[in-house]
Symmetry: C2
Subunit: 140 residues, 2 copies
Amino acid sequence: MPNNLYEKAKELISHTGDRTTHHRIRTLATLLAEQHALTHREIEERLNVKGQLDRVTLYRVLEWMSKKNLIHKIAGDDRVWRFRVNTELHSHQHAHFICTRCTKVTCLNDFRIKPDPSLPLGYLFHEIELTVKGLCAECA
Amino acid sequence: MPNNLYEKAKELISHTGDRTTHHRIRTLATLLAEQHALTHREIEERLNVKGQLDRVTLYRVLEWMSKKNLIHKIAGDDRVWRFRVNTELHSHQHAHFICTRCTKVTCLNDFRIKPDPSLPLGYLFHEIELTVKGLCAECA
DNA sequence: AATTAGATGCAACTAAGTTGCGTATTTTTT
DNA sequence: AAAAAATACGCAACTTAGTTGCATCTAATT
């Protein structure tokens, strides 16, 4: 993982106003380096190659980053959360693709979603999540 | 639960060609009676008012019914599966609404989804799932 | 350098969902 | 109608993602 990602992560975290800890920076840098969404376990594996980090701490770091809108999480078919960094492109309303064989998650950026769905009377819209299921190029 | 639901469930199950057991019929009848998706636990509670049914058996019944396309399952934000019967209206491509406060799931039937999404090269489309999050009428 | 609010690590816990296996029930065959 | 084959059921034990409580440590503030 290149050093500039570490610096970028550091800057993004300091902008939140909260503490810029080593764990937060390393975790965000890891997600910045990835092209697809990672599970808690995958992040843990990448981080623990060098230097330790407690499972629980990672859960809390990820939770904090979600709350701060640095990342977003995706519910997969295997009831495991996957996390992806929020860039301008990846934030908010876009679609996810889940491969039903290898369970890898990719973001489909050039996928337009109707922003304002019509809901039953009294319902309040908050966000929309579109998941496409199928086989990825490797598994097809 | 009215008797005709039991009969309807029985007929649907016999059409699969597999065994029409009491548990399968009761489970499907329970889902037929509901207007929204139920969790495994909610189904269990309804079924165990009278007569017992093992947790594991229910999991297997639900899995079997999914495979037979009698029902479909929905991934919620609380990593709990929810199950909904497939009628002509409810099958395949439609949207779900999840209330982020009470976590109840409703099907949005008058919600059109573009049937054929454009995917990256080599990817194979299987199904599309659209989830709208927000507050339901009771929680708003 | 001392303070303090918040982050971390550890151990124990919760809960959804799964697996293995012996027993019971359907369905088929005779 | 009884026996045989195939499948479903129930129980116990297990797996694993995610959570909670609490003592300790550390980044920002004074």
